[in-house]
Assembly symmetry: D2
Homo-oligomer: 284 residues x 4
Amino acid sequence: MNSSIIALLHGPDRPGIVAKVAGWIHRKGGNVLHADQHLDLQENVFFQRIEWEPLEKSDRKEESAEFENFVLHELGMNIRIALSDDRPKIALMVSKADHCFHDLVLRVKAGEWNAEFIGVISNHHDLCKTCETYGLPFRHLPVSAETKSEDEAKQLGWLRKHGAELVILARYMQILSPRFLEQVGCPVINIHHSFLPSFAGAKPYHQAHKRGVKLIGATAHYVTKDLDEGPIIEQDVTRVSHRHGPKDLIEKGRDLEKLVLSTAVRRHLQNRVLDYQNKTVVFD
Amino acid sequence: MNSSIIALLHGPDRPGIVAKVAGWIHRKGGNVLHADQHLDLQENVFFQRIEWEPLEKSDRKEESAEFENFVLHELGMNIRIALSDDRPKIALMVSKADHCFHDLVLRVKAGEWNAEFIGVISNHHDLCKTCETYGLPFRHLPVSAETKSEDEAKQLGWLRKHGAELVILARYMQILSPRFLEQVGCPVINIHHSFLPSFAGAKPYHQAHKRGVKLIGATAHYVTKDLDEGPIIEQDVTRVSHRHGPKDLIEKGRDLEKLVLSTAVRRHLQNRVLDYQNKTVVFD
Amino acid sequence: MNSSIIALLHGPDRPGIVAKVAGWIHRKGGNVLHADQHLDLQENVFFQRIEWEPLEKSDRKEESAEFENFVLHELGMNIRIALSDDRPKIALMVSKADHCFHDLVLRVKAGEWNAEFIGVISNHHDLCKTCETYGLPFRHLPVSAETKSEDEAKQLGWLRKHGAELVILARYMQILSPRFLEQVGCPVINIHHSFLPSFAGAKPYHQAHKRGVKLIGATAHYVTKDLDEGPIIEQDVTRVSHRHGPKDLIEKGRDLEKLVLSTAVRRHLQNRVLDYQNKTVVFD
Amino acid sequence: MNSSIIALLHGPDRPGIVAKVAGWIHRKGGNVLHADQHLDLQENVFFQRIEWEPLEKSDRKEESAEFENFVLHELGMNIRIALSDDRPKIALMVSKADHCFHDLVLRVKAGEWNAEFIGVISNHHDLCKTCETYGLPFRHLPVSAETKSEDEAKQLGWLRKHGAELVILARYMQILSPRFLEQVGCPVINIHHSFLPSFAGAKPYHQAHKRGVKLIGATAHYVTKDLDEGPIIEQDVTRVSHRHGPKDLIEKGRDLEKLVLSTAVRRHLQNRVLDYQNKTVVFD
């Protein structure tokens, strides 16, 4: 099958948007494969994810650009557009923990996702060898208190040089500065090892154990300058009991973190996620 | 808010359906509130649930009829259409177990659903008094081996007289004859107390206990003449262990049955379910 | 089967506790049906739930008292002891919402639990009629700002007069004063409609919607003088999406609240819950 | 901490077993860390998992042997005994799919389990290279229709030579012959990609898709000569919808298979699983 076009739109609701979008595609000879929409009645905002197969002879890039133009200028809405066979370039940022790292790399290797890892940035040396085995460029930058500003500049340089279109913090144990986030120029997804907003900040499993909760969670979210406060993409939980000490929670949590982070990344890569007012619309 | 119109369509996929449907509504001045679609690429069948708010001055019944006509004759597709404030008439069929019965009645009383219970048919007397308390007509028909054919005729008569638009088997422990199902003239939803297709037939919790499964389930499905083989609307499971005997499974199962049946009924009442080739499409 | 004896012990761990407890029961001719234990290695505290069937001729009350004496004075541990056929007296406190109320009352009526409802206290009149139908005494006390202290005294008098052994706040929308909690003389279980510690306090579903979480939760806990901070007995969650407004969360939450509260109450009634350092040990 | 001793007992229930076991350990100066028991009242069979820390100076091997002797000859019960720091030797059998394979190997590498992989047997060459990277011996045996008997003999020889104490079928797509199972001399754990007993046999995801189930499952079980009928150790499910074709189910199922198989293996390695009458008792 040839590649299809996927568009994510949002903007003020007005009568006829659905008809106009579908009409445009129909006139081009395209066949709609999926369409899902959401209307936020409180805010009067319309959201849509629409995927269509253009005519075989159509130039996908050109048709995308034309549609983008149509949405921006004739409908006055925001749009993000992609082709189903795009392979976005992903950079990983890691520290010492390697469970999410392996999980993500193996998924790409197994062909689960249309994506390409461009390399790994770390503030530790631990995963250097493994990156070699996987054939992934590894960039070590210590990001100590004294070098933070300088090292972040190097990180940004590296990401730009390699053309990163998505950054995944796969248990990266450093806080990114507001300056970094302003300049990175692509979305950054983080996995936090708690069911946010509970237990934001450091050592969430210890906090959870202390409070005596009966479920622990993990949360994948887009990173914003407010720590652990960005738009949530995915969350899940698993049951624990009085028998589990902080060490058990950490171990049980690892499987949860892998699942939640990979689910969030998959949805992002499939262009299913729109963030809006610090929340997400996920077309599933 | 005035009532909206909800349509469920399905039929052979062809380019332009989405545009034609959306265009029709737009020309009438309607505003699309929700639209969800599914394309079965294997079978080339298109499914859509679309809900729109007509112009305030529009006669909903008339607009519905016109749209139905348009879909049937211009698009050549099947359609089911309803208004958001329709209150379908539901009949319950029960035996002795009362957990699903109470659960459903209390939901309607609490206003969770737009629906009306017209009464209860039972092959036992146990729930007669409780029906009185709830103000529900109660019809007892023993349906013994000798009276089955005759009693089913009476059941059908009763359902027709009261205008049943949905029949719910809320743990009704009798098999409906093919003749009954042909003549009932409205959907029948059953709750089976296992994760189908495992443990179809009698005493599923005893079967589950014997096999030593680690999760038990419940399944809500449309009833067809093949016992426990109808299109599945909803399923769920709960964890059990070696500590649970058949009696414990029965007790744990009660909560599951209530949840699964009520979820299936809610979706049916919200016109979210299409059945097709012995499966369902559930627009959630 | 005759009734069995259930004991819940906890205290500083020492070698030989398990042997001494089992030895005592064996010498009496009892047969251990269940035994479960937990050792908090950090705090060096030992917890045990043990259930045994005494000799048929044994006087259960007497044997319980002897065992209690043995544990307190020879083992130097805390103990709570009960018979399997005890029927604790439960009082419900409610406001307007009735879903947990119906759920609990119907479970007792169905014989799911060995317990007896002695009546209902409410700060509203809404459930008065329904209590009559159920044959439950109903006590209305408005608990306005001016009458709080006086009305709480009346509540306490009523609970004492009827011999309450457990108080369940089934969506009771008033904060109990520290004085009430000091004097009530029996455990109080509350259902909070969020996954604590997230969204403590008022309007948790609105808070959850605002934050854009992907799961909503409910938490049953023993009430302490710190609002929503007491030992958690049970929690669970259910999935939500961008499609769900606050009203949908409230509706979805109702099923969750019923399940979580009833699970917590069941465990409490089966003498499976020990609270310790503001957490619970639940022998499941 | 020094290693502890873990014993799994089962046999006909008799008064005093708990006391005798605990008494024996106490006399030896041991301190019970965990004890959990189950009484099958229907079959009158008693099950126990007990873990204790012997005196520091005690020879663990000797104390284990003495206890084994005591249980066999004085209590007349079956026993399996292990030390907490035992590192059982595990052999993997795989075909082409590699998700469970990576998952298991990475868990052992990460130190999640006390165990050692002795190597990989496969009927395909696909994972040969990866095994090299992981430093795992790889043995290819095609097991074609003509060579099955001979190749199974070679498999058995290889397993014996390397001292396998557990065999894991990590999506091994061959049926082991009854003769193999009789001679293998250690437990064999398999992952089946359905919620057994539903969809036993070939292509379970296709079967599930055809039936239109709303949840798919995975089941880890001990292998017996009856295909997909052995004692179930662990099961879990995940939600699917009409949008998921067989290919999607296969992809979603991979995460489920990894989780379910690794949970079952973890419990087996922690000596928490007793199989009995084609079911398991899992002390969790």
